[in-house]
Structures are given as structure tokens and as C-alpha cells.
Symmetry: C2
Subunit: 492 residues, 2 copies
């Protein structure tokens, strides 16, 4: 009956790994570092995709698809970018296997099928896309070009964790081209705001919008906007990034356009992405020792109905009521599952749906039929109430809204109470070790200090918040002058 789930307080990391598998979200595959996303987990990802895709289209973006492979020569054309990814990319060198002549039935790589030029499995698509844009952009009439791609990418990470860091992951990557610098910066900012709104309203995860420091920036970017979330263990998680790429890729791939006045100018660019990593943020923000807790806006089904019966007659009577509720709820756009499987007992089902984080569970037994009530259980608070049958729809609709809000507020309270302003490095280290969370501290603006702090504490600058007030102060590490605080944290 128990879920056999490690407690968060015992080992947060182990709790997470177990939960992802036990709640049927994902599992490790036969390929090192690559995951299988199971139907229940994928259904959540599909809901994220649907909402983001709608928002991208509403803001004028179109989807397209670019090749999985990047020829090595294109990859190295954008030097800065290549530097960052060359160390962790899967490389295709051959295009055929053949039967081993010395070992019948076994396959070996056919040495005669060596590619003239090796192909990198895309770790991100700037190179292949900007090489394509060169053919698409001639004049100001072709701009802006606002394109998104839903795709798989591969980064050969050495230490992987389900959803958080996998060798292959799913994401969307937007790649836009603009006539002016201002327009490109506005696009990067627009998308960062779109991400923030989505993550807050759908994942119910509060985020801080900010800019990355130079050393934390995407290699090819002039400026990286980001949204940063805080997990229950006090570690930060970067939930999305939106890059202003300046003219770096336009120059690397020679993409110019004729202005209205007939001048040739380099194009300005952005790129931006969120990935299946968001699943990690979702899981770690809300879930508890009983299992997953899902916000109603992303739950594959928001309500599950479990019949409690001893014989077929009881089941028939309960099913009639259950089916009425199912129909009523669907009319009100509530997604609901009636689990009438006779292969599993009610207790097993209660346990299963608690583990899977279904926001509301309705139990109906013979006594409920008599009283014309149902038992309604909330996953977020683990509270139960009896509700008259005629009030079920109204109550469910209201509770789903309440649960969505409650999850966000709870996470925001935790996050807000875990932003600590410190005055000196001793305080910095103490807060980091005892309390965790974001540390708001003055920094002298140098890479050197940033690296030194990272080396000493493992904390990095998560972001310079966009709404940061200017405040004169002294760098916690170097003692040099500083004009604003930045947010440090240990991070996923």
C-alpha cells in the first residue's frame, strides 16, 4: 500500500529520482543519459507545448523544421558557439553497418562507409539555421523573420538526471532575424516575458526575470534574458533563456539585408528556448513525500473518479452517478477520468492517483449513493470533504482554480522567504549553507570575483534582476564599489 518513496528531508535528490519513475513520468533508457518519457509524463509536456505554441503563434511566430545534423564546418564557423558545445556533442562518422565477417550475425561499422565530413547531432540549431537564413533574407521586406522549431537536441553530458540534464532532450528553439538592434532586443524581452507568464500561470512556479552575467551567458549572445525559479531544496533552476545575439551569427554566416535606402547591413538576431527541463522544475516545486502534486492547468486529467464497491450491482449503480458527473464536468471543460477497472482495488487506486498528483479525487461508495454525496479529496492539501452530488461541478470548478492559485502562492511564499540580503562574505557563506535559496549581494561586476565565489562556495550569479533597484554598496567578496545587488544561488 505504501509508496516506498524516500522522504525529501532524508535525501531530496533520491526522492526526486524515485518520484519521476514511480509517478510514471520518465525512466532511464538503454542509451546512456537518454530518457524515455512515459505517456503520463509526455501528456504534461504536451500541455506545456500546446500553450507555448499558441502563445508563439499569437505573437506572430511560425514553426519550421531544420535538420538534425550540423556539418562540422558549419559548426566551427561560429567559433564562440562551437567552443561551448564541441566538448559534448554526438558525432556521426559513418552511414552504414555491416555483418562482421569474423562473427556472423554481429554488426560492425562499415569502414568503407565513412562520411567525408563528420556530422554533429545538433546541440542547438543556430549554425544550421543561420546558414539557411542566408538564402531567405535579402531585403528589409524579408524581416522580421520569426521562426520556432520543436525538436530534440543532444548534449553529451557526463552526469545526467531525468528531465534536469539528459543527453537527449526535447525543446523549442526560436530563431528570429530583425532589421534593427532595438527590435531584436524587444523580441528577446517579449519572449522572456512570455516564458515568465507561462511558467507562473501554468506551472504555478514563480520566477525572477533577469539578465545573465557575461560568464553565465550563452556563448554566442550579447545579452541573455532568463527566468530563474527556486526549488524546495533551496537550489535555483534556470527555467528558460532568451538571447539577444547581436550581429554575431549574421557576421559568422554573412547574412546581410538591403535596407529601404538600399544599404547592405548585417541582420540582428535572437534565439530562445525552454525544454523538458521544465518538467523538473514542475516536479520539484510542488511535489511532496506522498508523490507528485500537479497544478490543474497542466494535469493530464484534473479529476479522477474511483468507485468503491463490493459487487457488480453496486458498481452499476455507482457507474451511473459517476458517468453523470463525468459528462457534467466535461461540459465545463474539466478533464476527468473514471477509473472503473476491476483489476485494481480502490485502495490501490487512491494510492496511485496520489502518487501521480491528480489534483482532485472523487470517491463514490454505496453510502454516498444513499446520501447522494461524493467524497472529494484535494491532492495539494490532502484534505477531504463530502459534497452533495448536485454541487460537485460547481465545487470542482472552484477548487481547481483554488488549487492552481494555492500552489503558486505556496511556492511564492517559499521563494520570497528564501531571498536573503547579505552584507559580507561570512554572512553569504552562512546563509548559503544553512538556509540556501537566493542570496542578494553586492558584486563588483568582474568575472574574477564571480569565478572566485563559485570556486569557494559553488554558488553562481543566477541573474541580475530586471527590476533591480540601484543601490550603492560594497562587493561582498572584493570590497570594491558596487551599484546594485545580484542574486547568487547554488543551481541545478
Amino acid at each position: 500500500m505504501g509508496k516506498n518513496l524516500t522522504k525529501r528531508s532524508e535525501d531530496y535528490s533520491k526522492w526526486y529520482n524515485e518520484l519521476v519513475v514511480k509517478a510514471d513520468l520518465a525512466e532511464n533508457s538503454a542509451v546512456r543519459g537518454c530518457m524515455v518519457i512515459k505517456p503520463y509524463g509526455f501528456a504534461i509536456w504536451e500541455k506545456m507545448q500546446a500553450e507555448l505554441d499558441k502563445k508563439f503563434k499569437e505573437t506572430g511566430h511560425e514553426n519550421a523544421y531544420f535538420p538534425l545534423f550540423v556539418p562540422k564546418s558549419l559548426f566551427e564557423a561560429e567559433e564562440k558557439n562551437a567552443e561551448g558545445f564541441a566538448k559534448e556533442c554526438a558525432v556521426v562518422t559513418h552511414y552504414r553497418l555491416k555483418t562482421d565477417p569474423d562473427n556472423e550475425g554481429k554488426l560492425i561499422v562499415d569502414p568503407e562507409a565513412k562520411l567525408q565530413e563528420e556530422l554533429v547531432v545538433r546541440p542547438t540549431s543556430e549554425a544550421i539555421i543561420w546558414n539557411t537564413y542566408k538564402g531567405w533574407i535579402q531585403s528589409y521586406r524579408d524581416l522580421p523573420l520569426l521562426i520556432n522549431q520543436w525538436a530534440n537536441v543532444v548534449r553529451w553530458e557526463m552526469r545526467t538526471r531525468l528531465f534536469l540534464r539528459t543527453a537527449e532532450f526535447l525543446w523549442q528553439e526560436g530563431h528570429t532575424a530583425h532589421a534593427t538592434k532595438e527590435e531584436a532586443i524587444a523580441e528577446a524581452d517579449l519572449i522572456n516575458n512570455l516564458y515568465a507568464t507561462f511558467v507562473e500561470n501554468f506551472l504555478a512556479v514563480p520566477v525572477i526575470k533577469g539578465l545573465k552575467t557575461e560568464s553565465e551567458r550563452f556563448a554566442g549572445a550579447d545579452e541573455t534574458f532568463c527566468i530563474e525559479a527556486l526549488m524546495q531544496d533551496g537550489k535555483a533552476l534556470q527555467a528558460g533563456t532568451s538571447h539577444f545575439l547581436g550581429q554575431n551569427f549574421a557576421k559568422a554566416f554573412d547574412v546581410k539585408f538591403a535596407t529601404k535606402e538600399g544599404k547592405q547591413e548585417y541582420v540582428w538576431a535572437t534565439s530562445w528556448g525552454v525544454s523538458t527541463r521544465l518538467m523538473g522544475a514542475l516536479i520539484m516545486t510542488h511535489s511532496d513525500d506522498q508523490g507528485l502534486v500537479l497544478p490543474p492547468n497542466l494535469a493530464p486529467y484534473q479529476v479522477v473518479i474511483v468507485p468503491i464497491y463490493r459487487n457488480q450491482e453496486q458498481l452499476d449503480a455507482i457507474s451511473q452517478v459517476a458517468n453523470e458527473i463525468v459528462n457534467d464536468l466535461r461540459l465545463h471543460n474539466v478533464s476527468v477520468k473514471f477509473d472503473n477497472r476491476d483489476t485494481h482495488k480502490p485502495g490501490w487506486k487512491f494510492n496511485e492517483y496520489e502518487l501521480k498528483g491528480v489534483p482532485l479525487r472523487i470517491g463514490i461508495g454505496p453510502k454516498d449513493l444513499e446520501k447522494r454525496t461524493v467524497e472529494l479529496a484535494r491532492r495539494d492539501t490532502l484534505t477531504k470533504e463530502f459534497v452533495p452530488k448536485e454541487d460537485v461541478v460547481k465545487t470542482v470548478v472552484q477548487l481547481l482554480k483554488e488549487i492552481q492559485d494555492n500552489l503558486y502562492n505556496k511556492a511564492k511564499d517559499y521563494r520570497d522567504s528564501h531571498i536573503t540580503a547579505v552584507q559580507n562574505f561570512d554572512e553569504f557563506k552562512e546563509v548559503l549553507e544553512t538556509k540556501g535559496g537566493f542570496i542578494s549581494a553586492h558584486w563588483d561586476g568582474t568575472n574574477e570575483t564571480e569565478n572566485k565565489i563559485k570556486e569557494l562556495t559553488k554558488a553562481t550569479i543566477r541573474c541580475i534582476p530586471l527590476d533591480n533597484p540601484k543601490e550603492d554598496g560594497i562587493c561582498v567578496y572584493s570590497g570594491a564599489q558596487s551599484t546594485q545587488r545580484v542574486l547568487f544561488a547554488k543551481a541545478y
Copy 2:
């Protein structure tokens, strides 16, 4: 002004290649054999995906995601399957590039980052999926398992053509597991019917449902259901396949389940897929020498409105009428684009939307404003009519339905008039060379005869139609006894 499109009668193949590029559907990329699917082409593919995905879910299937890579050892575990794909698969052998010490800035494959076991980029996912299902299936309670995946796959084809045969392509692959043989066969048949209905109702492409002969079957399958379409040049195109896999994969990956009675049995399987190849079928079935012709059910926008004006005043007046029409059409679920760009002339736009196959074009000029009419042009018949403004919505809704039906009927007439029954091999060869299309002929049922006919004529058996009447006869090639006719054709 002209479209510079090769005529179909001159060079059908060249016409197709040019059309795909000029209509902004797709183009070749910097990676040999891999295409870029452009936004306009991808919007059509997205509409196909949305409809198929809905139908899969309505029939109880769930989506999931499995790794891009298949370890070589898993690949070879299913020998028959591996044999078919080993000759054309991309192989990842290394996981890192490094800077060439002899040539600064250039990247080379780091010989120290060689994988212990090579990874095949999935040409199809049976191996990795069945290796996963082993952990998911223990008892009859876990069955049926009805899973679909939307993914990219890679087959290192030597001769590629946009959409029809590319090294990387997009598809969906369903992989199901069942307790009984009957159930698995019923599933394969269900999906083949689902494909047929979809292709006929959405692509407006008539198909023949049938079974593949042993030599045309998927290597791991006991039976392959298929849908076969006919292109305007008289060549057939396989539009989808649905395989009954028997217990082949269950045995190769040792996937057994406990029956209700507690016996251990191997699971029965199906797999099925359609791909971006459907884009090729769509384009080749309906399009003409003026460009693409799209069925309304798949057009990214069904109606385009082009204003014809000489000055801003005229444009303002026209825009007012156009925007009213846009709103009215959207209320009736018609997708419409108002192209008020001042960067292009009306003539250029007319040409562009004809090339892009937009089903209906509405032109509005100053004279139309006076008369309170608009000019409505049908892409399929290239006919025009003037319609009173108040009748636009009604007329458009009716015409879209008419166009969808007309395209299907036209294609069906062509297809039906290109199924020719022949009695002997001379007739067979003559029809194949002069008329093309499907040839209905008696066949003795042997691989030998099938191969010989293929060798002599390049025609293959496209399918044994499911609704084939039994008819005694004599094989066109061998003269041996036969009980039914089968359909031969040259094929894409």
C-alpha cells in the same frame, strides 16, 4: 510575373522539385539528403499532425517519447529488422570534437572520445521500444499498450527527393502490445482504416487499402496493411503502412505476460506509421502547371484577401470592407489572411497565392467598393466570379466544401480510370509503358515471379486489395494457376 515553373508534361519530376521550393514548402539543406521544412510547408504538416493525433487519442492511444539513439547491440537483436536498416543508418561513434593541434580553430573528432558501443540514429524505433516494453509489461493488466510517438528518423538513402525520400524525415510511429493475435490484427486493420479515412478526407487523395506481399512487407512483420495512392504521372505512392508484427519483437526482446490464468505468453504486436512523405502525395495529386493546389482541410489559410489600390485613401476604404469579411469568416471557422503589405503589388500577390495553392482568393478594388461586390477566384478550377459583399461568407463556406469534394473526385476519377485489368504479359508491359497507373493482373503468388516482373518492368506489387474478389485465372507471367488479381505499378 510568370512562375517559371516547368510544365508537368515536359518533365514531371522537375516540375515537382521546382514546385516544392517555389511554393515555400521545403528546400535542400547543407546536410546531404536532409531537408529544411519551411513555415508554409510545416503549417500543412502541423494540420496533418493535429488531425491524426486527435484520431489516435480518440481510439485510445497515448503519446510518449523514446530515445533518438539505438545501441548497436539492441539493433542487431532483432535480426530481420536490422538486416533491412543496417545498410542505411547514421552511426554515432564519438561524443566530442576538439581543436586540431596542427590547425588552430579547426575542429576534429577527438579520438579519445570514442563510444564503447556505437549508437545508431533510429531508422525506426521497434528495437528501443520493445526493449523498454519488457519493463512495462508483466501481466494481462498491462495490456493492451497503445502508444504513439511523433519523431524524426534517419535512413541514409542514396537518392533523395524533398518529402518523398529524405535522409531525415518526420513521422509518427505507433507501437502497440496485445494479449492475443486477433486483437493485434484488429489494431493493425483499425489503424490502416484510420489512415485511409484521414488521407481521403483531409488530403483528398483516394487510396486503395490492401496487404503487402511477403517481399514488399516490413522485415519484422507477419502482415503489412497499406494504403496506396496514385500520382498524376501514373506512379503509385505508398501513403501509410500498418504492420501486424506477430510475436517477432516479443521473442527478440523476451517480452512475456502473465495471462489471467497465470500462464506466461509472448505478447502480440503492431507498428504503424505515416510520414512527411504524405506531403509529397498531397502535392503530386492535385497541383498543376500554375503551382500548388491545396485542399481546404489542410490549407494553412483557406482564403486570402488582396486589396487593389492606387493610394492610401483607397486602401483604407478597402481595408474596412476586408476586415469585416475577415471577422465574419473567422466566426465561421474559415482561416483567412488579409495581405495588406505595401511592399508587393497586387499582381505579384495573385501570382504568389496561386503558386501557394490558397483555395480561394478574394480581390477587392475601388470598383468593387462602388458595386458592393468582391471578386472570388477558385484555385482548383482557376475560375472567377463576382459576389455581392453580403453573400461572401455563405459563398466561401459553400465553395470550400465544394473544392474539397472536387479535388477528391477529380483524383478519384483519374485513379479509377488508371486501374487496368490485363490478361497477359504483353498487355501488362504495354499498359505500363503507355498509360501507367495500377495494373490489375493475376499472379501465381511466388516471390520468384514477383521479382522477375520487377526486374523486367520495374513494376512491383503495390498491394493485394482487401476487398479483392476471388477470381480464377492464370498468372500473367508464369501461366500458373491464380485465385485473385493483385495491383502492380511503378512506384515512388
